[in-house]
């Protein structure tokens, strides 16, 4: 059994559209990408799961609100509760918030405009598997492309996640009205993270930046480590 190429699932919902880019980026970083359809009730044997960007269920009701009822989401919640690594990108972040796996909610951008451009992020915490390859305070250039990316938490929740070190990335120049300039949050345990920017679109110099490879590469490394040890002790 080789653990040199960790298996990472990419969960596709009806309306996901960055699933193939995520698979391509992960494979380029040394992972073995495993496509998983949302209707699957069980996750394959993988060391991590990525929820890709897109417009699951047409963003009906609220972004991510319907996708959380997909059969695979129950298995994902169990996987996460056992310490499994889960990364939600853009719509994946929205889904994780709606599913209660991450704190907060995503609201329409303050400008009401769909924003598609590179943004600069500051690494607030390197104490997560996703940012372990980054330096504290490091600035990353990664694109965003969303209409509803303003992370919201009320004052109490914001104070709580700040105190617990769950804010992982912040925008240096807030593009969307996100509370506290938050671009990425993780759960208390640190094994589940969501971010609005798209690291999978910043893994090749041809695309203008390779900073996304730091995030996804961190995930691949952590997945490689997790493949060697039982999931319950992989993170913590």
């Amino acid at each position: 059994m080789s653990s040199t190429s960790p298996r990472i699932a990419v969960l596709t919902f009806p309306g996901s559209n960055d699933d193939r880019d995520a698979l391509l980026a992960l494979e380029g970083l040394g992972a073995s990408g495993v496509p998983v359809w949302h209707a699957d009730e069980r996750l394959p044997d993988v060391a991590a799961v990525v929820l890709p960007g897109g417009f699951s269920y047409g963003d009906y009701l609220r972004c991510g609100a319907i996708a959380r009822f997909s059969p695979a989401m129950k298995a994902l919640a169990e996987f996460a509760s056992e310490g499994g690594l889960v990364l939600g990108i853009c719509n994946g972040f929205q889904i994780l918030c709606e599913a209660g796996l991450l704190p907060g909610a995503l609201r329409p951008n303050s400008s009401l405009a769909f924003i598609c451009r590179d943004v600069v992020l500051r690494v607030e915490s390197t104490d997560t598997p996703f940012t372990a390859a980054c330096a504290a305070g490091q600035q990353l250039t990664i694109p965003i492309k969303h209409g509803e990316g303003a992370w919201f938490a009320d004052a109490d929740l914001l104070a709580e996640v700040e105190a617990k070190g769950q804010i992982v990335l912040r925008y240096t120049d807030n593009p969307n009205g996100s509370i506290g300039d938050v671009a990425a949050v993780c759960n208390e345990r640190g094994n589940v993270m969501g971010l609005m920017p798209h690291p999978e679109h910043a893994v090749d110099p041809l695309l203008g930046s390779t900073d996304g490879a730091l995030i996804l590469g961190g995930l691949v490394e952590a997945a490689r480590e997790a493949s060697r040890t039982p999931a319950s002790t992989a993170v913590g």
Binding site: L61, A65, A105, R107, A153
Partner: protein, 79 residues
């Protein structure tokens, strides 16, 4: 039994849709001091009486129709 659920952004939550509509109304010459945009869900539920319907719809709101972190809801049961 028919019911209507009104879902609103909670006070203090930025509502850019409402702001855009407010500004457009002003451009039309209306004197508007505020506009907030929510959502209407018309429901037809199987319930024996209005109280039972309300209890059931409250659960729907908590679990799906509204996100309690950012939205409030109001339930109107049609007689």
């Amino acid at each position: 039994m028919k019911a209507t659920v009104l879902v609103r952004p909670k006070p203090g939550i930025l509502d850019p849709q409402g702001e855009a509509v407010e500004s457009s109304l002003r451009q039309l010459g209306f004197s508007v001091a505020g506009a907030r945009i929510g959502r209407v869900v018309d429901l037809e539920v199987d319930a024996s009486n209005p109280d039972a319907a309300r209890t059931e719809i409250e659960r729907m709101c908590e679990q799906l129709l509204a996100n309690p972190l950012i939205e409030s809801y109001e339930i109107e049961i049609q007689a």
